[in-house]
């Protein structure tokens, strides 16, 4: 495992920070948006269409001097369920873990129900994840379920 991690780092190693690896290549910009990296003061490097043994093509994001807490990082599980989170300190991989589907999803998924208040007024969306396997989101407001195939990111 750590060998594979090191090989990736050769591309542009960072001294301290976080590498988000194995992102589906089409989802890289969405992940950047969900983690608000566009506004980040940290140095951010990203790549798309990189080769991956596991997935053929993949995307990667490296954020220098930034460590995410799990609530923050699990937000990306909806768009990048295969992502791996690698923490680097002094050029060494100190931890490597997969993202997990969070219990709640706030602010970045649109409610599927056109009659929901969140689609009529400026109300930040809030969902409870009621089925992690099939990804079903229960809207805190209209109490309707948004299924995986209907998820649209704001």
């Amino acid at each position: 495992m750590s060998n594979e991690g090191r090989k990736e780092l050769i591309v542009s190693a960072i001294e301290n920070g976080t590498v988000i690896d194995h992102i589906p290549t089409h989802a890289v910009l969405q992940v950047m948006r969900i983690l608000n990296l566009e506004q980040s003061p940290h140095q951010v490097l990203f790549g798309v269409n990189l080769e991956s043994k596991k997935y053929g093509r993949k995307g990667i994001i490296k954020v220098r001097d930034k460590f995410f807490d799990s609530i923050e990082i699990n937000k990306i599980a909806l768009v990048a369920p295969t992502a791996t989170l690698i923490e680097i300190r002094d050029f060494e991989v100190v931890s490597k873990k997969n993202v997990e589907i969070p219990d709640t999803v706030e602010g970045f998924v649109k409610c599927f129900n056109p009659r929901c208040i969140t689609n009529h007024e400026e109300v930040p969306t809030r969902f409870k994840v009621v089925d992690k396997e099939n990804l079903k989101l229960l809207c805190h407001y209209c109490e309707k379920i948004t299924k995986k195939e209907n998820i649209v990111f704001l």
Partner: protein
């Protein structure tokens, strides 16, 4: 329950509901009590619902409180483009409690988060209408002497009928056996059945109303609306099979009572009204007692 909003039937616990039903019995015996003197209740009806509004206003008036509000969004500043949040924040300043009806789903939850006073949801689109559910529970208790272990049939539009959804969810606390009668297109959604399954209760589905009449304690009728059908021919085909007539009740149990959230159109024939098993008008009256109990609890007056 003091200062808490009631937005969804899942907001309160079984014990809290039972307490409201118990209090409603007290208001049924003594409907006129001036415990709300000096209080102002706002009834904000962003869409018209005369029956529900009058029931709430009657409840407040009988308790000696004052009512402010509107019965149609066209007379409120919503028509000038004001947001719901702004309307609610403003009216919070003028009242001790807000009763609201709104066509948009989730609007009452949102209002409860921006209001500085408690909110009672009097219907938010197709989502929730918890006081209807409470008055239905009260009526079942009143007619059967218990809420436990009953056989309850729901008939008609089980897919879109929010009253049916709330009632099914609430009754899962009382070991109910559910008999669900609807056209194929309007069956109870799986999200509601999930609640029945979680409690490991029994439910049976039918398309023929006659199959359930003789075995249930409560027959809860609802309206089937033409616009719910994707195929108008299908509506024409089924519409008359969900009409209850007096002759169909010949073999029913003695304790059977027929409920309906009203207004009815043609799903209960007028010849049923004289049958002692017809109970829908008493059911509507119960709405006042239940709302008195709820308002008094939320304002901390009982």
């Amino acid at each position: 329950m003091k200062n808490r909003s009631l937005v969804s039937i899942t907001d309160f616990t079984k014990d809290e509901y039972l307490r409201i039903l118990e209090l409603a019995q007290h208001f049924e015996r003594n409907p006129i009590q001036k415990i709300l003197e000096g209080y102002v209740v706002a009834t904000l009806f962003f869409e018209p619902s005369t029956r529900t509004r009058l029931s709430f206003e009657s409840a407040v008036n009988r308790l000696g409180g004052k009512v402010i509000g509107f019965s149609d969004a066209s007379v409120s500043s919503t028509s000038k483009g004001e947001s719901l949040a702004d309307t609610i924040r403003t009216v919070s300043n003028y009242s001790d409690l807000i009763v609201m009806r709104h066509p948009i789903e989730g609007s009452a939850r949102w209002a409860s988060e921006v209001a500085s006073v408690p909110i009672i949801n009097a219907g938010d689109g197709a989502n929730q209408h918890p006081t209807q559910c409470l008055l239905d529970l009260y009526t079942i208790l009143q007619t059967q002497g218990t809420l436990d272990n009953l056989h309850v049939a729901f008939v008609g539009d089980l897919k879109y009928g929010r009253t049916v959804h709330s009632n099914v969810i609430a009754l899962t606390h009382f070991n109910t056996t559910f008999h669900l009668v609807s056209p194929e297109e309007l069956k109870l959604p799986s999200s509601v059945k999930m609640h029945i399954k979680e409690k490991q209760l029994e439910y049976y589905q039918y398309t023929d109303i006659q199959e359930v009449i003789n075995k249930v304690d409560i027959l809860y009728m609802t309206r089937i609306q033409r616009e719910r059908f994707s195929d108008p021919m299908e509506y024409e085909r089924v519409k008359n099979s969900y009409i209850l007539t007096n002759s169909m009740l010949a073999g029913a149990k003695n304790n059977l009572r027929i409920l309906h959230p009203l207004p009815r159109v043609n799903e209960i024939a007028y010849d049923v009204d004289a049958n002692p098993k017809a109970y829908y008008f008493q059911q509507a009256l119960n709405g006042v007692y239940v709302r008195q109990a709820l308002i008094a609890s939320i304002l901390g007056l009982v």
